[in-house]
Amino acid sequence: MMMMRMMMRPGGMSCRKALKLMQSYLDGEVEEKLALKVAKHLNACKDCDEESLVYKKIKASLANRPPHVSQDIIDSLTDFTQNLSKS
């Protein structure tokens, strides 16, 4: 089944190649002509499209992380917790 999938070329590109290019494509690091081919493949292949959505979500979430977490904030929340326990 996997072999068959690999041999198929939805949108003119194999799943293996699309998966290999996926992250660079999502980062905008693939040249335009090749990017169009990846886009065409994703449009035609549900499995690879779903995989690309997972990576998009991971990228968005990694981009949404706090750039810096102050230890003072963590300490003050820890104090808050300890004070609750003592109350």
Binding site: Q23, D27, S61, R65, T78, L84, S85
Partner: protein
């Protein structure tokens, strides 16, 4: 095998030992949801207060999931309250009303709270090199070339390290999902 502790034996110290190891993750998740230090801090404090009041009803299983559920619900309630307050305010501007026409529904927030927390957990497990690449490309929007120049390594190394790191995050997410399903 899951060990179920009995929170009622000494609820106060149990609360402390259950909650303190999760504070960092709670704060980071709250920051991702609010994108503000002060709001994230308020959100975590409200979450901790609610958790403290509910500790006797907590069955001792999956403290992280329990706390994240409280955080998620608290965040939804705070967003609803903020919206209601704005609507009551006669000075509410069109811009403010637009802010809340965001299609994000509470249902989506439910999914995102756990997803953000799981990505944070997976990120924390990465090596310093992997974290550095992710911080440059995903957090700061560097191109591969810019990241390579910054780290003084070849572009190919940036690409392979970055892709490997994200793959690791993806695999960890699957594991964390399986764990939470159990």
């Amino acid at each position: 095998m899951v060990t179920i502790m009995a929170p009622k034996t000494n609820s106060k110290s149990y609360f402390e030992t259950t909650v303190i190891p999760e504070i960092d993750l709670l704060y980071r998740t709250a920051w991702s949801l609010t994108r503000s230090e002060s709001e994230a801090q308020d959100l975590v404090q409200e979450t901790l207060l609610k958790a403290f009041k509910a500790i006797d009803r907590f069955d001792g299983r999956y403290p992280r999931a329990w706390l994240l559920t409280i955080l998620k619900n608290t965040n939804i309630n705070r967003a609803r309250k903020k919206k209601a307050d704005l609507l009551k305010d006669p000075d509410t501007t069109f811009a403010n009303s637009l802010e809340f026409s965001d299609p994000t529904t509470p249902e989506i927030l439910v999914i995102d709270t756990f997803f953000e927390a799981n990505v944070e957990t997976a990120y924390q497990k990465l090596s310093p090199d992997s974290k550095a690449i992710i911080d440059l490309v995903d957090l700061n929007g560097f191109s591969y070339q810019e990241a390579a120049d910054n780290l003084k390594i070849p572009v190919g190394t940036v690409m392979s390290r970055l892709h490997r790191a994200r793959k690791q995050v993806r695999q960890d997410l699957e594991l964390l999902d399986k764990e939470s399903d159990q």
